[in-house]
């Protein structure tokens, strides 16, 4: 039996990883239009480069990497409005997000650099391990571990400056901010 037809393989990848990719994009893109555009462009890339998509769960990390690049490029210079995903666009408009506007911890998180937020989000939102983060970011495991440690420390420092809500975050965050184990 030969390899599966491109359509079959793409459909398997799409059905298996659409929720993960859509969650990733939803958590980072702004408007429903942007969400739909970025999801469409990510999977269009996967379709056109189907043979570059790794097998198994590595495909998810590969797709995160593509989505990350699409997000970075999407807002550069030119608008890229796709004619695809009309219905998805409508669906995305109904998705709600938790209101964290007045959450001081969220404000502290927002004050971090983009790279720090992305590292922390890949771990806390996508549930990735250090080596998996390294794959998405295209860096070594050691570099990912170090960058992640620094990002956590910077957030802990921001959180420690929050007063009087500090108690909410616990002593361990404060310890981290101070560089203690």
């Amino acid at each position: 039996m030969g390899p599966p037809e491109p359509e079959q393989r793409f459909e398997e990848i799409y059905m298996a990883y659409y929720p993960a990719v859509a969650s990733y994009v939803r958590r980072r893109a702004g408007s429903p239009d942007d969400v739909a555009d970025v999801i469409a462009e990510t999977f269009t890339t996967a379709w056109r480069r189907l043979n570059a998509v790794p097998k198994g769960d590595e495909a998810r990390l590969w797709l995160y990497g593509v989505a990350r690049r699409v997000l970075a490029n999407h807002f550069r210079a030119e608008e890229r409005r796709t004619a695809l995903a009309v219905r998805l666009r409508e669906e995305a408009a109904t998705w709600t997000a938790p209101d964290t506007t007045h959450d001081p911890a969220h404000q502290a998180f927002q004050r971090l650099a983009d790279d720090d937020r992305e590292l922390l989000s890949l771990v806390a939102w996508e549930g990735l391990s250090g080596p998996e983060v390294a794959k998405v970011l295209g860096c070594s495991r050691g570099a990912a571990r170090l960058r992640l440690h620094r990002a956590r420390k910077r957030l802990a420092r921001e959180l420690a400056q929050l007063d009087p809500d500090l108690a909410d975050y616990g002593r361990r965050a404060v310890s981290l901010a101070k560089g203690q184990p």
Binding site: P3, P6, E7, F10, Y14, P19, A22, S23, R26, R27, A36, I39, A40, F43, T45, W47, R48, L50, N51, A52, L61, W62, G65, R68, R69, A72, A77, E78, E79, R80, R81, T82, A83, L84, A85, V86, R87, L88, R89, E90, E91, A92, W95, T96, P98, T100, A105, L120, S121, V123, A124, W125, H149, R152, L155, L159, Y169, G170, A173, L176
Partner: protein, 285 residues
């Protein structure tokens, strides 16, 4: 220790998407209907497309100053590779060379780089797009952009610059002008900067009107798609009084149009016009 910080971050996460919705399934079928089919498994030969940069283009004056020739330049050389100020400066001399020729030259220079020259729509001609094996965009590999105006989406590169200390593996796709009848491997909407309908109002005009506008610009339409939720997908022809909401060129002089029997809602038009004015400086309706 770290768990505590991670838990705090976790609580900001908007909810996950847990299902493949109707809209998502529709998108999947739209993508598979894309005229740019996936590269076949053994298709490197098919991608034998070569270059991306105007043949015989000169390097920017600043980039050629004090260069050292690394390789003898013979009429057969597909690439000129020079050393300049910590960079390898690469100019594609033969846009249609066998990719193996590029590969050999790059390997001889000690670079683990694959250079692919792909046919692209006008907006992307000259685009330099370097990626790592895991599809990360490589910031350190850059196009060489001459001074002066550039009416394209992603710059008008005339060469590629790679840091001499670059030790990774990279795939650099360079987009070139397509030949007649050659399908684009990289394309975008027909109103993007550099495309025939750039700053030409088309949204909600009829198929007859837009087809005429395209004809004036040397473009014919060979396919239509109704991408609305109740749409019929790809069609060879549609009534002339249907409405156009988008389109893209799939090869030189040939376009596909996104159409609908119903006009676009007014409020949506206002929003898209606003986006277009912001991005392009002109409305689309």
């Amino acid at each position: 220790m770290t768990r505590n910080v991670d838990d705090i971050v976790a609580r900001f996460a908007p909810p996950a998407v847990s299902t493949v919705s109707e809209g998502a399934r529709e998108l999947m079928h739209e993508i598979m209907a894309d005229p740019t089919a996936p590269e076949p498994v053994k298709s490197r030969r098919r991608l034998n497309l070569r270059m991306a940069i105007p043949a015989g283009a000169l390097l920017a004056a600043g980039a050629v100053a004090a260069t050292t020739w690394l390789l003898p330049v013979s009429p057969a050389a597909a690439l000129d590779i020079k050393e300049d100020n910590g960079y390898y400066v690469i100019e594609v001399k033969d846009l249609y060379a066998n990719p193996k020729v590029y590969e050999k030259q790059l390997r001889d220079a000690g670079l683990k780089i694959t250079l692919r020259v792909i046919p692209a729509t006008a907006a992307y001609e000259g685009q330099v797009f370097p990626t790592s094996p895991d599809m990360k965009y490589l910031e350190e590999i850059k196009g060489i952009y001459p001074p002066g105006p550039c009416e394209r989406v992603d710059g008008c590169a005339i060469g590629v610059k790679i840091p001499k200390n670059f030790s990774g593996v990279a795939d650099v796709a360079v987009s070139r002008k397509a030949r007649t009848g050659e399908k684009y491997q990289s394309t975008t909407t027909f109103d993007a900067k550099g495309e025939p309908m750039h700053c030409v109002p088309y949204l909600n005009k009829t198929v007859t009107e837009v087809t005429a506008l395209l004809k004036e610009r040397g473009v014919r339409v060979n396919k239509y798609a109704d991408l609305t939720p109740i749409g019929a997908g790809d069609m060879r022809s549609v009534p002339g009084n249907w409405y156009v909401d988008g389109g893209m060129l799939t090869e030189p002089g040939v376009a596909f149009l996104s159409v609908s029997e119903m006009p676009f809602p007014e409020e949506e038009i206002a929003r898209l016009n606003q986006k277009s004015v912001k991005g392009y400086g002109c409305p689309i309706s």
